[in-house]
């Protein structure tokens, strides 16, 4: 596996091992069957090629499911370059298969340029992101005209780059608030000397971004509120068939999968604390309870706290349960949820993990100052405190469902990624209908995504009679709910 950041490689991709391509292709083939939304979308648009001319830069966990998304986008006519949006989330066989492509071989790769491997350093991560944002059509200076983002890192690079180029200077990396932002600023310092207008030019070419997750959407709304958004954005996260499926059912599946693969601990009889009771927290709590764990929820929002209570979970403050619980999972989307001081008070071998998007929910930096690390296996570290007790930290505080397991299952991701594909088509083909604001997909498209998945599960939908439709004031073919309906 490559571990250092090369300059631009002779081949226009960088993955861990092309020899994994066949394994990856086999798994992609199996996943295609489990992703009916994407495959039906390929069928529907095969002839019309709606993404012809689109140059899509994708920053989204490079997994098997993402490979099916990538190949859907190319099947619809797009040119695609890709990176993972997390240093641990790449499945190396998926990346290899995407680089080799369905028609290539490891000796003669024919796939798309992908820059991703499991276990990137922060420097490598941002280098990869930079590579995917340039080099379209073989031209090092040609950037994307569409971004497909997860967490908003690619969007942030373009926006911050543009901002600093306008200012003519990049802030001093030594003053950065985190190690990652330091790396980020160092990269922008370099690009400013290479080409003082690179990000400005790239940004001007971009017609829109479709954003996958809560955290990235939050960034986009902030940019839009300050009138700093450079291009229109579609918030895919808040499609019902995304957040109410991926975040909830996906995490319900992959959280315990990650914990089991990492530790093989028996959850029945244990006490688990779930920090945050949003969609991700709800799915997490349910899966832990289903394993027989006693689940305690922490919340700041009275509505979510009351929801947790009404579902029979104890709601408490972290400090009141820190010494007694066995498993701690952060799902908040906020920072500084579990600090080093907290971990110092935990039981011996308490398990600590995060399933929120970023790695700032657990104070790993603080942990390095007060405890010693002993790596049990990749993405599983035992940290020993001076008093001798240890905690087990999963995936260094990054998304443990992707770091320790394989993320969400294909079927759930088919819902999310069909939304992504439809959003890309929408922004690309109807670009003049969108301002530099954040939009959600209209309800009828959300319903369409769900419809595409019914047949695979043999779901028999009941149809409204015209008089019934008139009675509740909706068209027979939908949409069936007002936009504010919460499901």
């Amino acid at each position: 596996m490559s571990t250092t950041a090369d300059p631009i490689t002779t081949q226009d991709f960088k993955v861990a091992d092309l020899g994994l391509a066949e394994f990856g292709r086999n798994e992609i083939r199996l996943a295609e069957h489990e992703m009916p939304g994407l495959m039906k979308t390929r069928d529907e648009f095969a002839a019309s090629q709606p993404l012809k001319g689109a140059r899509i830069m994708g920053s989204l966990h490079m997994t098997i499911q993402t490979a099916v998304l990538i190949e859907t986008l190319t099947a619809l006519g797009a040119e695609v370059r890709w990176v993972s949006c997390n240093i641990f989330s790449t499945q190396d066989h998926a990346a290899a298969a995407v680089a080799v492509g369905p028609d290539g071989t490891p000796e003669n790769p024919q796939g798309i340029p992908v820059f991703a491997w499991k276990g990137e350093t922060l420097e490598e991560y941002w280098w990869c992101t930079e590579q995917a944002l340039r080099g379209f059509a073989g031209d090092p200076d040609l950037g994307p005209n569409m971004i497909l983002d997860d967490g908003g890192d690619a969007t942030m690079l373009v926006h911050k780059g543009t901002e600093y180029e306008a200012a003519g200077a990049v802030p001093d990396p030594a003053q950065a608030e985190s190690e990652e932002f330091q790396v980020f600023l160092t990269l922008l310092q370099r690009t400013l000397t290479e080409d003082p207008q690179r990000w400005t030019k790239i940004g001007q070419e971009i017609k829109g971004v479709t954003e996958e997750t809560t955290t990235g959407v939050h960034r986009l709304y902030e940019l839009a509120q300050r009138d700093e958004l450079l291009f229109p954005a579609i918030n895919v996260n808040d499609s019902v068939t995304k957040s109410k499926f991926d975040n909830l059912y996906g995490c319900r599946h992959s959280l315990v999968d990650g914990i089991f693969r990492a530790t093989d601990v028996m959850l029945a009889g244990k006490t688990a604390v779930v920090c945050g009771f949003g969609d991700v927290g709800k799915g997490s709590a349910e899966s832990l309870r289903a394993q027989g764990a006693r689940v305690i929820v922490t919340e700041i929002d009275p509505i979510c706290a009351l929801q947790a209570s009404m579902q029979g979970y104890q709601v408490a403050r972290l400090e009141d349960v820190i010494e007694t619980a066995d498993v701690f999972i952060t799902t908040t989307g906020n920072k500084d949820i579990i600090m080093a001081d907290d971990m110092a008070k935990m039981k011996h071998q308490a398990i600590v993990g995060n399933i929120g998007h970023f790695d700032n929910e657990i104070d790993v930096a603080g942990l390095t100052k007060v405890a010693d690390r002993n790596t049990i296996k990749p993405q599983v570290d035992e940290w020993r405190f001076p008093d001798g007790h240890t905690i087990i930290l999963l995936s260094e505080g990054r998304l443990l469902n992707l770091g320790n397991a394989t993320g969400h299952p294909s079927f759930v991701m088919s819902n999310s990624f069909t939304n992504q594909t439809i959003a890309q088509i929408e922004l690309w083909t109807k670009n003049d209908e969108y301002d530099k604001q954040v939009y959600v997909l209209p309800k009828h498209l959300d319903e369409k995504v769900a419809r595409l998945h019914l047949e695979a599960l043999n779901i028999q939908l009941t149809e409204l009679r015209p008089d019934q439709a008139a009675y509740i004031g909706v068209p027979v073919e939908g949409p069936y709910k007002p936009d504010h309906y919460r499901y």
């Binding site: 009889g269 027989g292 009404m310 579902q311 029979g312 979970y313």
Partner: protein
Amino acid sequence: MPVLRSIRERFSGEQPLAGLKVGACLHVTAETANLARTLAAGGAEVAVCAANPLSTQDDVAGVLGGDMLVRAAHGTDPAPGQAEIAAWGPTVTLDDGADLLALLHETGSVPDGFLGATEETTTGLVRARGLGLKVPVLALNDARTERVFNDHYGTGQSTLDGILRATNILLAGRTVVVLGYGTTGHGIAARARGAGAQVIVCEVDPLRALEARMEGFGVMPAVEAAAVGDVFITVTGVPQALGAEHFARMKDGATLANAGHFDVEIDLPALDAAASERREVLPLVEQFVVGDRKLNLLAQGRVVNLAAGQGHPAEIMDISFALHALAVEWLAREGGSLTPGVHQVPADLDREVARLKLASLGVGIDTLTDQQTSYRNSWS
């Protein structure tokens, strides 16, 4: 009650109970009436009295009284009726709490030709064993069908039903403390969780306690649970599961209910002694003012599922009373050859009840092939 009905149809033709005198001391409900009529259809002479002063449905007792000897009325002391039925000279008794059995032993009047007794509850079996039994007793409560359906599903559902009818409280968001994690406790805890309550289990048996913990329930000593619970349900089979030390710690508005057989699980004298004032705030809800807090006792601490609810759903009683009917038939046939003491229900009676129930549901199951049977047997 399709299972009991199918047995009644067979009994009508075969008359397997001809000549029997069956004394039944049970909760006098519509389902019990069905059992009594099934036994009568099989040829037995049947007499019925109440096992509990609050569980009799008077309309049922009235109608049934047209066909047979019935001594039961809601809200009256059941003892005189029980004594009358014991003196009537039954040759088979059906008990729910061992009242008739105790009378027969204590008065030394076990009738000639007495074939045997059945006992419905765990508590009754404990009492029966203490009597120095002179007759065979079939432990119906230990039968698999009884345990699984009656205790887990029946009492599990009807206990919460009784509490909800009496109080109309929302369980979601509340902390429900289940004292005792036997079969009934399992059923109650699972349903309370399903209704959105946080469930805490209190146990004395480490195995049961661990089981509760592995199901993800909170487990702690009752004295700790006392301080955090909103609803307390006793299903322990022992007295004073909740007593003065618990009442002293409970929150204002805590609700106390018992689903165990006798009204001893909540220490009522201690509760009365701790209270400065008591008054009925709703039918079957009595409020005890303890210090600056009010504690709500349901149904005077008697089986809340029968006293405040409608007892088990008919489907559960169908299974339970089908087993009773088959047990009486079996006692009629085999009772004379049994030694005094507690006997387990033969497994084929259990299987027959389950088979009839499945048939009524239209559920088909598989049968072992000869090859599979010999494979299984080859290990023994």
